[in-house]
Symmetry: C2
Subunit: 170 residues, 2 copies
């Protein structure tokens, strides 16, 4: 099982680290992709090694895409490659999990229209404007799309992610 | 299933948050106990609500004790109540999981002698002096005692914690 996290500097630390460690606990190989080599630094100061340059990522190599929040999505959503990758996961009906501001990348990729989704409260207006069916819940699962609002939702977010991956294994 | 985390200000954020969220993912009730009411703040600025005052904790209410690292254990190890609680978990052969500096509390409680254990590198000298059989590994399991060195070991640490709890359920 291979997981792809796309992020950048100023990510929300727990929203990246919790899935990163949880998927490794399960034996997954987790790549962290970003625009520059080296490492990315979270809002709270955690540094995470970039294992893959965004430009070199092939969607077909991964079983799930995870989009953490923080300020990172503001940068990620401007990258055509990130949007193309997200679209590719959706086309193949592979799980995409976005938390907090992570959904901004999906908005820019035009992937939320008529989809049930949640996100951080400050993102709600643009989420609705993009045609999403917004719900205020700790986690919302709409087919391949898993979304949560904030760090406190991480238990529900990870529970649904792991269900989706276990389902894929069978 | 009920889990008890004992910590204080200046905890290592990921070492508290990862088990905290992971156990909730599994449906556990997780109490965070500390010396003062309100919340405790990690080295990286995360605040976690104190759900139980240390003085009010009864070991019998919990299935596992988790001791995160950071600078918090320096304060926790001075609390007689914390040491008594740790001893109580050991007497009942209930799982105790310590990461990084978390093992310092077990040293002060006199619980590591002749036990296989790992810890953060700076804690190694006092761990050995206390009679522990130190090993340099991502996780060491010696009967009820699970220990890890640092945040990067969290996947292995959580894997062994979850095995222990699943084992208890059967």
């Amino acid at each position: 099982m291979r997981a792809l996290i796309i992020s950048a500097d100023n990510f929300e630390d727990s929203e990246l680290l919790v899935p990163y460690y949880r998927l490794q606990e399960e034996g997954a190989v987790v790549d962290v992709a970003s625009m520059k080599p080296g490492s990315i630094k979270g809002k709270h100061g955690y540094e995470v090694k970039v294992t893959k340059l965004l430009k070199d990522v092939t969607a077909g190599d991964y079983d799930i895409l995870i989009l953490p929040g923080g300020k990172a999505p503001e940068a990620v959503r401007k990258e055509k490659k990130a949007l193309d990758l997200a679209r590719s996961f959706f086309e193949k009906n592979k799980p995409v999990a976005a938390i907090c501001h992570g959904g901004q990348t999906l908005i820019s990729a035009g992937l939320v229209k008529d989809r049930r989704v949640t996100c951080y409260k400050s993102v709600v207006p643009e989420m609705k404007e993009a045609g999403a069916l917004y719900e205020d819940a700790d986690v919302v699962v709409d087919n391949n799309l898993i979304s949560s609002r904030q760090p406190a939702d991480l238990p529900a977010f990870m529970r649904e992610i792991m269900k989706k991956l276990k389902f894929k294994k069978t």
